[in-house]
Assembly symmetry: C5
Homo-oligomer: 342 residues x 5
């Protein structure tokens, strides 16, 4: 592929690309759905309001190119929007700043993390977001805008960008709590009984945590850069919030790493518990064999057909032998008990 | 949750929020309990004295917001006060500096670390602390102020902030000493006998150390920043103490890491000791079997019913065979002894 | 070897060194094959066009030296061109910039990575590339130039250099996807049955990933330096692309590292699965032995030849014993079932 | 404990604190023992000579405080002197520089490292050292001063400080050589026979190396800072020596790390050697059982009491069977030999 | 030992210290052997020629001190020359620059690395090298000087210093290639059969790689500093070569690390291969036992002496039983085959 061409690298998850449009300032608010084909509606907005285009679906690369042309977005940004495998990243360009990140969700039963590519471009007064599906990742933020609650309506597009990224990052906590819940359940169960399927579950959890980590590690760096930005599109009083957000990503990385450590510990525990128990069983079984082996040997002795085995002709030879066998049996039993082998 | 809203994320541990108030300088001292509802008492204090509000309980977010308004505290600080899952952190704002940290305690029997969220806000002449429970983490500092011992009464709110953080950090030493004691007891016991429950204990200790580490690592960074502060609220002659405190956190991290190494070593030791002993047992048992197997075979031979087995009719056939068996028995025994298998 | 002498350290992979020459600007394009012996053709080109010499084969050190003399290339660059074991690297010299890198290909069946040394030297208007074989690694770029598609014809030699490196790096994604495919196939198969050959495959994959990593790690650093260049041969509007390319190499490193983690996890899984199953088998076999051992002992008892064994003369002694044996058999079976050993 | 109070945290190792005093310059030398109670003797010395107070014993906190008052030492230094658990550190204060470090000794038989807390304070013309015991760690340096050998008498207190720290660090080499000797002995022995006690020794060695590491790692940092000092109490021509000393600490860390790697390797070797041998034994024993099992079965067959077992009545039935058994025995033996299981 | 005294810490490897002297510029060359006792010959040379004193043997500390006095070498340099355990290092002094490094050689059969301490001091026009043995590590460079080939005769002492270090570093490649060859041979062999001696070989290789690493890691740092030098004794046009040399040391470190990874992988492979095979054997043996155990039990049943065992008196009871036994045998065999246990 030529660098510089906008190519959608994912699976189409919506039938038709929808654009949800919102324009607001402290006083008024406009909200509407834009059909991605009625392109007339895309126009630059008055600079003192916030214009938010929320595009759902990324397969329509022509639309992306049109948006690019309309708002003078750098070609590399357009490429990265359409590339769903793009690593989370923060880039500043002359005419706007660009953030890519991944929304995650976790299926507890299948132990499977789902990723969704999210892209966000903003400059003074304008913000364009891209989601892969129709279901809205930014619903909570949208509600806050509509209800005029919090400080969001008083602030510009940079604060909205922060709030949107914050909504995604907040969700990481939910995902990680679910992961930790699964780990804790596994641990509790494991201390009672060891099931080989749990081994596979641990393996899968580790794999999924790796995937989460691969999404969060670059995001942390990206937000770190975002928080230290000197871009003219980010106001000073927003940066304090972005710094707080950065702290959250650091904490999330910590949680991921300690979850991995927990899983490694669990795996060690699993293996040693199971091999300990299995060894105990083997030892017990072997002990039983060892007790019977000399007894069987004795029975073999008196089952021989020599003409002259005096003991065979004793009146109570058989009973004496049974007694001897019982004594041997008890002695071995006590010996093994003493040695704590039983 | 909207960023910017003060939400209590913990479990309510006190019935009613209590504010312990103290005002002192080198000469005089005032101390009283403030009911959190009689809000009239909150007023800015003369700048040449130290005003310490110690708030016990964090669920009363309205009170926190009121304090915020009264003392012009940045909204993000208020959020972080109420969020008990907040990572230890040090932040400087225009009107004051803010430290979050965690007080730890360790239950030796359950091998369980308890965390308590502590928040501390100070500027010139003012210090506000937040604890989760009614029991006082700062009792020792309070006593020093009351007894006018040490240099604390001569110094400002920045030194008090240092002393309070120092009190928390000092307690980490206690916790880690208890952890090390448990490790040493485990090790001593382990060299004598191996109990599978100790395996679980090691696992739990590792888990708890991870939790401690997650509290100390960010604290070290936070205090590192605190010690390098250029904030106008921290005097130069206090910084030398904060630097010393920083050294302590570094030492605590060292101790945590070496404790983890010890635990890993212990775990390796445990596994190899136990598998070594178990293998020894299995080997011994197998040896016993091996000694009796040829003997039982011989007995089987002379238990056969062939018409013509000449040995059966020898006068002392039986006794000779017993002799032969004894010889085989001894030869095998000596052989195994020589090979050091027994 | 004296430093400063141009020595070919690889295996000759072409019979005769071929030079593919291309000269273009936005309007015109010239393309021809140059015989490496007809050296007259090497001359400096008009500075406003891009001159691309693509040399296939590196064993002809005299040609390399001639090129060096013609275009005033630093002797160390010439050495590094001919040294196929050269680590990927980016160096700036007075008269041009130099990049070494490695093209990779992956043979899925043999699990074997093939490396090809690629060297690239450029300054204003000139670019010289060196490949080990006749097959063209830069075919896609060449097509783009010929078709005038994209922005490549409008830009200078620095953009071409970027595009060529990008073509190599893009191929790493292909290689890593193939590696991941092999890993996934292995994992799926492993959860069904464990084949010792897969163990060797994992081992080989890890070895090959190490080789890939050794190629990518220095390349990442090299491109990092390239992206931060202040060289006069690289235009500002090219640097944004190189920075994007750098992001790609970072992502590739991430993928390599997570693939290695996956392989380690797979290896752990393999070993524990196989030892778990084998232990299960051993346990089952031992259980069977343990069930029969007391029964055989009983049979041995009544096979003894004592004159006076009363039970032998009971009418249904045999049948009673069989019943007793059956009871013992069932009791043991149920006991083992209950213990979940069977 | 209140920060700022001088508290002895160690075990008292001397009965009575002794102060060894030495005053020298290039020409003259004064040496005497000062009773720690006759405090009159402590007075500031002429600035062009070196005054060395060597205090043996640290439990007399009053003496430390008196020294502090006499020589205007910062209170934090006094605290750190009395705290024997203090991490090795280098701090500069207005009136003098302070170094804490640990002297180590190694008991080869018990595999036990002994630590001794050493503190050192110096400014222009003055040096005060603190040792825990009466035995002199600085004997070699003292002798050099007395014998006027080397450059020590020509230089100031900063060079003496360097020479004293150097004496402690030099001893680390001795300790590490002893550790390496123990490791080598263990390795040699291990290749011949595996003793479970060696496992415990390796474990202990690793633990002790951890302790050494914990002393050296912060010391390396401390001396690194010392070597880069801009303090007015350290002359330029002394810094070259301190830099050399820093190199030594780096080398010591290297040695510690490679010793740990050696121990890890040894541990792996131990475990695999021992489990390999044990498995070999188990395999051999199992082979013996397997050889006799079919033979015993055959003997069992012809021990049955069926009325009609034709073979029993053959003239040489018994002898034929013995022959058959011998053949089976040999076939199995050869088979196992071929398979290299024996 | 007092710092500042020149003490030889190695084993004397030459009888008599020899000094090989060479003086050259672009036009002329002088070469002679100097007896280390005829000390008259040591004099400062004309600054526009290169004077190379190559001292073979380091035990003659008086000679080193004499050289030091003659050429005003810093005492610490003299110490470091005589200390063969000195860590590779690069230091700049007022009157000259000093490099210590280690020449390595590898004995493939004994798997043993030999180290030789090499020291190199140079300033404008002067270079003094120290080798431990009489065999010349710098032979190749000497030949190049004599043959006037390459650029060496045109350049100053700094280039010679570079060329000498380069000669040593080049040899590391040879050593590492030999190590890799041993590793590859081990791996090939291991896939066919597992020999416990190979385990020890892997262990030794890891140990030797550690030794190599300990020599190369500090050398890399040293050459890194060398390449960034601003020393007046190093010309600008030499630095490009030193930077290239630095790249080589980085590559060597990479190779060492990947060799260690290979060895770790090999070790894992070895252990799992061997335990897999051994388990397979044990499983097979156990299977054989399990097949015969019920059969032997049956034989035991009909070997009992009950008066009334009806089956014993059937005409073909014996033959029927043999048939039943054969059926049991086959059923078990097929069952085990199906389960893939055989």
């Amino acid at each position: 592929m030529a660098p510089g061409s906008v190519i959608f690298t994912g699976n189409r998850k919506v039938d038709k690309v929808l654009i949800h449009y919102m324009q607001y300032d402290g006083e008024s608010i406009v909200e509407k759905e834009i059909d991605s084909h009625s392109k007339t509606i895309l126009n630059t907005s008055p600079i003192d309001k916030v214009d938010w285009y929320d595009v759902r679906g990324m397969h329509d690369t022509k639309l992306i190119e049109l948006l690019g042309k309309t708002f003078s977005i750098h070609p590399i940004v357009l490429e990265n929007i359409a590339d769903v495998h793009q690593r989370p990243n923060y880039e500043e360009y002359d005419k706007g700043n660009f953030i890519t990140l991944r929304a995650l969700s976790f299926d507890k039963d299948k132990i499977k993390v789902q990723k969704e590519h999210v892209a966000l471009y903003f400059n003074k007064g304008l913000i364009i977001t891209f989601q892969e599906t129709e279901s809205d990742l930014f619903e909570a933020v949208r509600k806050r805008i509509l209800s005029s609650s919090g400080r969001i309506r008083q602030r510009g597009s940079d604060y909205l960008a922060y709030a949107l990224v914050d909504a995604i990052v907040d969700n990481y906590y939910v995902v990680l709590e679910e992961v930790e819940e699964v780990i804790e359940n596994l641990e509790e169960k494991m201390l009672v009984e060891q099931d080989i399927k749990d081994k596979t579950k641990i393996h899968n959890l580790k794999k999924e945590l790796l995937i989460i980590r691969k999404s969060v590690a670059p995001l942390r760096e990206a937000i770190g850069q975002f928080s230290k930005t000197e871009s003219s599109f980010v106001q000073n009083n927003s940066q304090i919030f972005i710094r707080d957000l950065y702290e959250h990503t650091v904490q999330i990385m910590d949680t991921i790493d300690s979850s991995r450590d927990l899983l490694n510990g669990l795996q060690d525990l699993f293996i040693s518990e199971i091999s300990f128990k299995m060894n105990k069983v083997m030892q017990l079984l072997t002990l039983i064999s060892v007790i019977f082996i000399p007894l069987t040997f004795l029975a073999g002795i008196y089952g021989m057909n020599f003409d002259n085995i005096p003991e065979l002709h004793y009146q109570y030879g058989y009973h004496i032998l049974l007694g001897v066998m019982f004594v041997i049996f008890m002695v071995l039993l006590i010996f093994f008990k003493r040695k704590k082998w039983l």
